[in-house]
Symmetry: C2
Subunit: 371 residues, 2 copies
């Protein structure tokens, strides 16, 4: 195998697939990146069996072939190469790859390409297209609400349901729930799957196109694939039953508060400085007389208080939350103002963007001893 390609494109492609290189590989070859040069294309692949990423770039291929090189060293070496182009030349006899760029000349030991579990195109029974900006929005509005606790797998993923051309993504850690819906252009099937949140995170980071672009999604009962640009990503799905979250969303609220997103978010962030080192990071919100008083108390440190204007429609209410569950969602609210909808002190509350019923965040309050 021998080819030449642009250094920046190669570095970018290696970075793309390296998210799937296993840090604790089940077998040595999974610590590597698979390279295949053929017909003017260099294809890179990496997989840890959970996730697989494939990426293609243009290359001047002199001799076609394939090879597996250490992911870590391939990444470190290429990133620092001094030239604009890179030549990779595999000496099959010695089983080493020569990497040349300008004055630099590296050789890396190779692993057998035959041992690498190459990624095959998934032929799912359900296939649809979705705009990358819509998919990114579905992910950013929900994935943050997942749990990290691997002991309960269904909560580490986002539920994705498609029904009558409406796609709904939802995530919960049982204390909070985020739900976002969008409409698909040309699909009318029905799906109900759970996608690992960390893979949705990688997917978001890889969708870097500046103009909206279609992503082709394909899925079977236990696998999903996404294809866009020159990238192909596959992932296993999480098995299990996602909880019936719709019944958690309160059908109505007695009080609706409208506040400035940025101002409220930074005030909560400041006030929670004091409670953050405690076990629960509890802040209390007191809505009355056209303002919200945000306060927290930690007997070992001191307390914090801040007051800001709020438009309150409905009865006054005082309610406590884990501050992180409030600030997390506000980071993903893109509107200047937001609605905080409340019932009683111990009833779940909701956060929404104004004039938009496609997104709902529900958060359970904290019971506090005294105030």
């Amino acid at each position: 195998m021998k080819f030449t390609c642009q250094k920046t494109e190669l570095v970018q492609a290696i970075q793309t697939v390296s998210k799937a290189v296993s840090s604790k590989p089940q077998m040595p070859v999974l610590s590597g990146i698979y390279l295949k040069a053929e017909d003017g294309i260099l294809e890179l692949q990496a997989t840890d069996y959970e996730i697989g990423i494939l990426c293609q770039i243009e290359a001047e291929v002199e001799t076609p072939g394939n090879i597996v090189l250490s992911g870590r060293y391939l990444q470190e070496v290429t990133r620092r190469l001094p030239g604009e182009t890179v030549e990779i030349d595999f000496d099959r006899q010695e089983q080493i790859a020569h990497i040349r760029s300008n004055t630099a000349n590296f050789t890396l030991l190779s692993m057998s390409a035959n041992d690498f579990p190459t990624i095959h195109s998934l032929e799912g029974n359900i296939n649809f297209q979705i705009r990358d900006n819509i998919l990114k929005d579905l992910i950013s509005k929900t994935a943050f609400a997942c749990s990290n606790d691997e002991a309960r797998p269904v909560f580490t993923g986002c539920s994705m349901e498609v029904h009558d051309s409406t796609v709904t993504m939802a995530a919960t850690n049982t204390h909070r729930l985020a739900v976002k819906t969008e409409v698909l252009d040309d699909f009318n099937g029905s799906i109900k799957i759970i996608i690992p949140a960390k893979i949705l995170g990688e997917l978001s980071r890889l969708m870097i196109s500046e103009i909206p672009e279609n992503v082709a999604v394909s899925c079977t009962y236990n696998q999903i694939s996404f294809k866009f640009d020159h990238v192909y990503l596959t992932s296993r799905l999480i098995e299990g039953q996602f909880p019936d979250y719709r019944r958690v969303i309160p059908p109505e609220f007695k009080t609706r508060v409208t506040m400035e997103t940025a101002g409220f978010s930074s005030a909560v962030d400041r006030v929670s400085l004091i409670s953050r080192s405690g076990d629960y990071n509890v802040i209390t919100l007191e809505f009355s007389n056209g303002q919200v008083r945000i306060f927290s108390n930690n007997p070992d440190i001191g307390n914090a208080e801040e007051t800001m204007p709020a438009v309150i429609d409905g009865p006054d209410v005082t309610i406590s939350f884990n501050a992180k569950y409030v600030t997390d969602v506000l980071k993903n609210i893109t509107t200047d103002k937001f609605y905080f909808s409340l019932n009683e002190t111990l009833s779940p509350a909701a956060i929404r963007e104004p004039e938009d019923d496609t997104f709902t965040y529900v958060v359970t309050p904290v019971r506090t001893a005294a105030r």
Copy 2:
């Protein structure tokens, strides 16, 4: 105590002294920052007994007094305050401090100011002035060469000798040595002390004046202080005998190589990618025929090689080094070209800046098995 000051000045002053706040305090009050407001001045102090830092800023003092507040929380809270000014009001009865800025209102528990070991001005028997840019240069050219091994304290500090108005700073970890000399304007005494390298590092970071400014240095047999701008820093000195490093510097060299600093430095950095994961990080330099060939080899990974032009005056030589000992010094060379002076394969080599005999770096080569 009650005062008002500018938020940015307070944040900066807290950051300055916080380098001396102990992370593992010997007694609780050392986790705090001491504040004293008097005569239009707010003074901040922190110490861990090794190092003490004092900083003064202007303040509108309504009621003079002093207080100790948690260093960590004072820093986190003030950094995020929403207003341009900050009011701190100490309620002596309740032993709490109220911190107010715009809409934010924090209270922090206080510690007793009487328990705090306040910093007293050091009245040394030796006192001199040095320009901050000269002091910074002495530090940057030597401190990196120290050892981190606390078991041998003298190697964790920089030797500072003043003799006949010449100041010499030197540091070594026994495998390498850095020596830099400068001339003092108005001092003719004699000093021989060892200053902890990490304190010199802090000192460098605190000297941020854009125009050269005098630093007043005072020292006793076991303490040193530096005064500049609105900052006063004291440190213990390291006891012990610094090795007689002058006899380590070879009196002459057979070969002198002149090379481009940046080009050689990045080539060494690239080539050592391969050797870095090994125990010794060895690179070999082969000087001959008007060029240097830099190479490294790691049986588990592969090898790397790079060639660049070099002006070689004297016999050819092939020599191996710990790559880090070469790149560390090159980061602190400010000239475009540098001299690499060599004798035999196993003799110490020197790195210098051209036309400048005030700086010398000596590095011991590594004995390699075979090449």
